[in-house]
């Protein structure tokens, strides 16, 4: 038995496959179309020939296949009945999967993109699968095609699919993305401005899987759009892993989307080995390609502890996973080295996720490190002030930031002028009145109190 090669576009969904089988045997009124003049007599004859040849033998010659492909594409362009289109696409997909599609020509692209516009889910998903299958691949001709391919359009369609209520549609869409992201240019496009929504939607799918886990297993109905949770998690993290191979993306990914926190949760609660495997691979990439950007976030999300539990608790069958775990743990240990509380604080600040820890509350901490906050042109103070203005900061982070600023002013009276200068004072006052969270208002009030205290001295 020969070992099959990994197909370029791999979609494995029960619903999808069953539908495909049904379409394969559905009778299509070709003669009717021919009579109506939608397809020419020659087309009809060729089609019949191929169908008979297919029934007779399994293999086809290369030239024949190319011609058949051309015929199918032509017919797809001419016809608009959903049934006929589905049948044609199934045939095209078979050829593309067999590896004889011959790249993604302009005509094929045009026709498939038109199918994306039609209202039928199956048609659109099948068309996107064909597109990805045709465009992916590592030959040099494929790379040139990739440069001209309208990935943004494809991602726009897939984004719509991922919003759908139907779990299988979401699943197939994510699987198509998995295959699409094999191409390097696709990754840059997805991370760019045009497809930012698509990426956000992808992460949303991941979040939903976690939420569905939170709900009691078995009793609650499946959360919208989530198939078997582990499989979906695997697929989405696989997409993220593919994205992380590009250095600029690896540096910015966590900042934008908080992936480390989510993946840490997933890794902690995952049952299936392959989910852990892919999460660890993602972290390994992030660390390898963009350590300074990601180490703080990893430390805040307590990744080293998670790795330790994983390494000690379960014995994994996969060698790559075991070696990745060990390597990752060692590298993180190197990076952390000897961490003082101050360094931890800096890490928290860098990752933007401040939380209440004993260090924040203790007066001694502030008294000790008050000078350090002024280093490098008051870098820490400025970071805190920036955090106050960042729109994505969580409420706890805002509250903690206000509290930290108040401690700063308390132990360093000159700080009042600095805060006024960089506009933090105004911001804190605004937060005091307009913020929705009571904690934030409280901390902001305290901070203003500290600023006002003894204000006449300066």
């Amino acid at each position: 038995m020969t070992v099959p090669d990994v197909p370029a576009a791999m979609v494995n969904n029960q619903f999808f496959d069953e539908f495909t089988d049904k379409v394969r045997v559905k009778p299509i009124p070709w003669e009717g179309y021919s009579r109506a003049g939608l397809i020419s007599g020659d087309d009809l004859r060729e089609l019949k020939e191929y169908q008979q040849a297919a029934a007779a033998q399994a293999n086809r010659e290369g030239k024949d296949v190319a011609q058949y492909m051309g015929l199918l594409v032509r017919l797809t362009e001419k016809l608009s009945s959903i049934d006929a289109l589905q049948y044609l696409l199934v045939q095209v997909d078979d050829i593309v999967e067999g590896g004889q599609g011959g790249g993604c020509g302009e005509q094929l692209q045009r026709v498939m993109f038109r199918c994306l516009e039609k209202k039928d889910d199956y048609l659109g998903l099948k068309a996107s699968k064909i597109l990805v299958g045709a465009i992916s691949g590592s030959s040099s001709a494929a790379e040139a095609e990739q440069r001209g391919f309208a990935y943004a359009r494809l991602f726009g369609y897939l984004e719509r699919c991922m919003r759908s209520e139907l779990t299988s549609v979401v699943d197939v869409a994510v699987q198509v993305m998995q295959s699409a992201l094999r191409a390097r240019r696709a990754r840059t496009v997805l991370f760019g401005e045009e497809s930012a929504q698509c990426l956000a939607q992808l992460i949303d799918v991941l979040r939903r899987t976690q939420q569905s886990l939170m709900q009691a297993s078995g009793s609650a109905p499946r959360t919208r759009g989530v198939v078997a949770v582990p499989q979906t998690q695997y697929e989405v993290v696989f997409c993220l892993w593919l994205l992380s191979f590009e250095r600029p993306i690896a540096a910015a990914l966590d900042r934008r989307l908080d992936v480390i926190a989510i993946t840490a949760e997933i890794a902690r609660s995952a049952v299936k080995e392959k989910v852990v495997r892919i999460v660890v691979a993602l972290w390994a990439n992030l660390l390898r390609l963009a350590a300074p950007a990601n180490v703080p976030a990893m430390l805040v999300a307590r990744v080293p502890a998670c790795l330790a539990t994983l390494g000690a608790g379960r014995s994994f069958k996969d060698e790559d996973l075991r070696s990745d775990l060990k390597q990752l743990a060692e590298e993180l240990a190197e990076h952390t080295g000897v961490m003082t509380t101050w360094d931890e604080y800096l890490n928290e600040l860098a990752s933007g996720k401040l939380a209440w820890s004993p260090a924040h509350r203790s007066e001694q901490f502030w008294k000790l490190h008050i000078r350090r906050m002024d280093e490098h042109d008051h870098r820490v103070v400025r970071q805190l002030a920036d955090l106050l203005t960042e729109p994505t900061a969580s409420e706890t982070a805002l509250a903690v930031a206000c509290h930290d600023l108040s401690q700063y002013v308390r132990f360093n009276p000159d700080g009042k002028r600095l805060l006024a200068r960089i506009g933090a004072k105004a911001r804190v006052m605004a937060l005091m009145t307009t913020s929705e969270c009571p904690d934030v208002r409280y901390e902001a009030l305290l901070c203003v109190q500290q600023i006002m205290l003894n204000a006449w001295r300066n």
């Binding site: 390097r184 191979f245 892919i278 691979a281």
Partner: protein, 231 residues
Amino acid sequence: MSTATRPMNDEEVYSEMNKMVAFIRQEALEKAREIKVKADEEFNIEKAKLVRQESINVEEQFQRKVKQAEVKQRILTSTLINKSRLQVLQARQEMLESVFSDAQEAMKSVPQDEAKYLELLVCLCVQAFVQLNDETVNVRGRKADTALIQRAVEQAVVEYKEKTGKAVKATVVEVSPLPDSVLGGVRVSALNDRISVDNTLQARLDLSSDRMLPQLRNILFGQSPNRKFFN
């Protein structure tokens, strides 16, 4: 509902087996895909590294070749410049020599004008006497000029007496005349021919050729363009 499940019949066994096979296959394909992705990335990195390395090499080689070509070019230009300078010098030299030979030709016609030639001879003798500053001198000349030289010497002695107040006894020596190549003029010697003043036309021509080179250069070729000091 029966508590014990009945044993599966063949169809069910087959279907279960197929399901398991499909599942294992799927897992294997996924792992294979991961491996393939990693391999692709490594390949890309390696390829980029090799390409960068080679392009640096090619760049270096190119720079080296450019430098070599430059050096060759410079050598060539300087050789050509040298050659042309030599050619210029040679041409100038030839011109100078033609001037001298023309002058020499012209010189030959000087003795033909007897009156003037006589005057000249007198002056030459006086100059020679003054130079030698001796009481006894011998005067030699060309064989053809003997008669003229006699007369000139007599006049010269008188003039010498007028100009300096000294007397000189000048003897014209006829036994060893000067060759014709001197073109004319006299050679005056004293102290038993140990000291002599060569006032022959040829000698004077040679002298002036040498002394007048700067003026000749100026007349023939103009001033040198690089010259800065004129005093």
